[in-house]
């Protein structure tokens, strides 16, 4: 990243000239959105296929992102490089929310997703006082994302066998959770 060196461990692996932050995503961010949303390396473990047209991207932001209960752009110096969201549940499941995130490929391996997850967790537990559990389901083959959650302080609870159908195939998923009383940095 422009000649700055990055340690391989530690969160927020960006030097003092760069800051990771979360903010709302809007239609004016469409070109940034298309960078990660059109990349099949990024969408490999997502339920959705890469976006190929800007119009589809705009519709996605309008129909899915803007009305979403909690959706934020992951920003590097206020420029969106990925996204993170928490989906709410209802009724007896209201105490838990599901976390999901994506990050532009060129930003992988620098601790940015870990930092974004920590920021999101701190924010969501204070914005949703009824929330007691933040969980994430990760494909067994998605080792990078499993490491993000472990570094962010999530607990690995087990492997749920043939839990979901992802792009036409049943997948084993690792369940991770962070409960409101877990230590957070």
């Amino acid at each position: 990243m422009e000649g700055s060196s990055c340690k391989s461990t530690g969160e927020g692996c960006v030097n003092e000239f760069h800051e990771i932050s979360l903010r709302h995503l809007d239609l004016s961010d469409i070109d940034h959105f298309m960078v990660w949303a059109s990349d099949e390396k990024v969408t490999r473990f997502c339920t959705w296929e890469p976006y190929t047209s800007k119009e589809d991207g705009i519709n996605h932001i309008k129909d899915k992102v803007i009305p979403h209960p909690w959706f934020r752009a992951i920003c590097l110096d206020n420029r969106p490089i990925g996204a993170i969201s928490v989906t709410a549940n209802s009724g007896n499941d209201k105490c838990r929310g599901e976390l999901g995130y994506v990050l532009g490929y060129k930003y992988w391996g620098k601790g940015i997703a870990t930092r974004a997850v920590k920021l999101a967790a701190n924010t969501i537990f204070s914005e949703w006082p009824h929330l007691e559990r933040l969980e994430a389901l990760v494909d067994v083959e998605n080792v990078g994302s499993q490491r993000v959650l472990e570094k962010a302080g999530f607990q690995r609870e087990g492997v749920l066998r043939k839990y979901l159908i992802l792009k036409g195939k049943t997948r084993d998923m690792v369940m991770f959770s962070l409960v409101s009383s877990d230590p957070r940095t």
């Binding site: 009724g91 105490c95 559990r133 969980e135 607990q155 087990g158 492997v159 066998r161 043939k162 369940m175």
Partner: protein, 178 residues
């Protein structure tokens, strides 16, 4: 003395089951570890049979000599979750400890993977203190996958739940329904 297992069967509920239904669904010992509170009136039971059980994808009475002594259900997911279904059950206290629920689960296994062709995973959630139900699942061949912390509300309190699963490819015993 154990009940002759050929007397046990599974069938859909009828409105005429209401009085037998009340005997176990009105019992706090039966409903202790379930999500729902004991039924308190015949009207409530009739409404449940009509509006919940009869339209349900797969809700059955566990019967002895064709009289209802409990329930078992399979609730499949939809969309990306159609590969999995939830199993749940309950039995009148007077029939506990005789392997009847285990038999009912094995009967269900012989049917549901055929009735729901997309189904490859059956799962169950159990409270940590519900040892009897955990034994039913283990005897039927389910594997415990983990403890889900503060997973959902059960009777107004957020609880940890154990999750168990059985895959159509796992080895398990089946019993045909008579």
């Amino acid at each position: 003395m154990e009940i002759d297992s050929s007397r046990i069967s599974l069938r859909p509920f009828n409105l005429s089951d209401v009085d037998d239904f009340m005997l176990w669904a009105g019992d706090d010992q039966v409903t202790q570890f379930l999500r729902w509170n004991s039924f308190t009136s015949r009207e409530e039971a009739l409404t449940f049979i009509k509006d919940v059980s009869i339209p349900h994808p797969w809700h059955r009475s566990i019967c002895i000599d064709d009289r209802s002594i409990g329930f078992i259900y399979i609730f499949p997911g939809s969309g990306d979750e159609r590969c999995r279904a939830e199993i749940g059950y309950g039995l009148a206290t007077k029939y506990w400890g005789q392997g009847i629920t285990s038999r009912a689960v094995k009967m269900a296994l012989s049917i549901v993977f055929k009735d729901f062709p997309d189904l490859v995973r059956l799962q169950a959630h159990a409270l940590v203190e519900n040892k009897a139900s955990q034994r039913v699942l283990e005897k039927a061949g389910f594997q415990q996958e983990g403890l889900l912390r503060k997973y959902s509300f059960v009777k107004g309190k957020v609880r940890d739940l154990l999750i168990y699963s059985l895959l159509s490819t796992d080895s398990y015993q089946q019993t045909s329904t008579p």
